[in-house]
Point group: C2
Chain length 353, copies 2
């Protein structure tokens, strides 16, 4: 950025940070565990003195700030990208860079990414998204948590269940059971009793908690639980479209459909279902009421009543916690509340059956 | 993953790769320039032998594959996240990890990210998105290109103008002028002559090329060019809403509006404009025709006629080129074509004026 200046040495950095040369060296090399507080002091000194580790790196003439990494399945899904945006905002506010790593849901890529972030000396690694909580998953996460802790970094889980005692990982999640209970109650209060749940994915942590809220709300209203009304469906628009199309076609011979409302497990599923319902010649909400979950595009544009998730706040909370210096072994999980956003996709009906 | 095994040493890696121990060391440390072909051999040997550089890293027991980094303003914008998804797909297909770095449009963060990716030994760094092509920008990019080339990596620009001769950078972009020309012609062919361009951002490379296509199409049809019809607007939904609202309110006293169609510079602007038009009591396309640009959500859900950009293909093309081993000093820029997707937002009208 500027002309030649006196070369800053590792000794200048050590003096400025008030630590030994060996500590600076270890912090920058990442070969040995360094306390987060010490690491911050060193990196701050590196930043303030514009110290660079070798002659080639001088070409770019800045010291790299610390980094926070967020690991997600895909960046083209609003749920993930909104959480990532929160991580990015908070990381930036705390003077860190933000790296977003994608895995496509592949555990091998996840492992490679976590290792890379460890070598990159990321201060925190945040893993996001629904999981199947089997033994393999728990073993893998426990290994990541210990490995990152050993290197002075830490693991934070977002939208995933806690790993349990003795595993050094922070947990931040949404109250999905509460959100699903509230939106199902919204439909029940409008007189709906036969509510199609579109998006069943057995064993997936996020799906399980939403279905649990749906079932509890039905029970609270004394509505009959009918497993026929819980339909499996991928979490994308075309799956929502296909599943709704199939369900509407199946009921074509009957004098009436066996549901008056749809609870789509995500807004994107709801958007696909909207199209199928329209193509079937039915009107929303006059003929069928529908609600979604997430409050991501296109909910606002199609007038979908849905559950708002504070995606960005989840990301921010994870970063705040991960950089807080608190002990992940004793911190309680954080659960963020949700709320319903009422738009134009639900109509009051007389009770059926 | 498995139990204890004989420790692989740096000498094993050097032998396996057919290079010297010093070369392996340099490749892994990233302190000296290494030829890409050599680097690949070393990293392949590292992978095949499951070599890890120090005892601590053994906790995770895999060798990190090479990485491709994509640098974008924000991950919560579909334009960027769709391109990032293409980068991710191609990087995975070529056995690389994908890192997504966000800058919020801040050159300081961009610089820090590029430096980090250089230290991380990313094989390619892909910078995406519209820019203001001033001298500072060109100097910065030239510096990145040389610095990355020195370290055996390379720079690729996506959706940005080429840097010119002598700068080692690949360029891949959309034909925005062609796309804007085609969609404007679509409106002109439907009889519209007074077309509001919503989203002017003078000096921004992407905006400039879209506006150029709009103006040329008007000229080709002999329509009068009226700078009053080019309206500045941020590239987000609420800006589109506010700008449209303001424009409709301004024309409230007139016996007629001074435009019959709107060309929104992005689909997201169009979505905001949709809402403003509806709130004004007007129908699309009966009262106003509107087209967008990008073909990202919510275009499909609101029935918006728009210009489809092959976002993912742009990302894939950038990765293919960056990992091709070709010489960025002599490779010609790649320009990807676009096409119109016709939905339900344009109505044929009698010519006005």
């Amino acid at each position: 950025m500027s002309g030649p200046a006196k070369r800053v040495t590792i000794r200048d950095v050590a003096k400025h940070a008030g630590v030994s040369v060996a500590t600076v060296s270890r912090t920058l090399a990442g070969d040995y565990p360094v306390q987060p507080a010490t690491r911050h002091k060193v990196l701050q000194a590196v930043g303030e003195l514009d110290y660079v580790r070798n002659a080639h790196a001088r070409a770019l003439s800045v010291a790299a700030p610390g980094a926070v990494a967020i690991v997600i399945n895909s960046v083209a899904t609003a749920y993930y990208s909104y959480i990532a945006q929160g991580v990015e905002e908070q990381a930036t506010a705390e003077g860190r860079l933000c790296l977003i790593c994608t895995t496509g849901g592949d555990p091998q890529r996840e492992l490679a990414v976590v290792q890379m972030m460890r070598e990159q000396r990321a201060e925190a690694v945040i893993l996001v998204g629904s999981v199947i909580q089997d033994d393999d998953y728990k073993r893998r996460m426990t290994r990541y948590a210990h490995s990152l802790a050993d290197s002075g970094s830490c693991l934070a889980l977002c939208g995933r269940p806690p790993l349990g005692d003795g595993v050094p990982a922070f947990t931040v999640g949404f109250d999905n059971t509460g959100g699903a209970h509230a939106i199902t109650t919204h439909l029940l209060s409008a007189g709906h009793r036969r509510i199609l749940y579109l998006g069943l994915r057995l064993g997936q942590s996020t799906s399980d908690s939403r279905v649990a809220g749906y079932r509890t709300a039905l029970a609270d209203f004394g509505a009959v639980y009918d497993p026929e009304l819980e339909v499996g469906c991928g979490y994308d628009r075309s799956s929502g479209y296909a599943a709704m199309k199939h369900r509407l076609a199946a009921g074509a011979g009957d004098f009436t459909r066996d549901f008056t409302a749809v609870f789509a497990a995500t807004d994107v599923i709801a958007a696909g279902a909207f199209q199928a319902i329209r193509e079937h010649g039915l009107r929303i909400p006059d003929d069928i009421s529908i609600v979604g979950y997430d409050d991501t595009p296109p909910a606002e544009d199609i007038g979908l009543t849905t559950v708002h998730l504070p995606h960005a706040e989840l990301g921010r909370a994870a970063v705040r916690l991960a950089l807080s210096g608190k002990n992940p072994l004793v911190e309680a999980p954080i659960t963020l509340g949700t709320h319903i956003v009422v738009r134009n996709s639900v109509k009051r009906v007389g009770n059926v059956r």
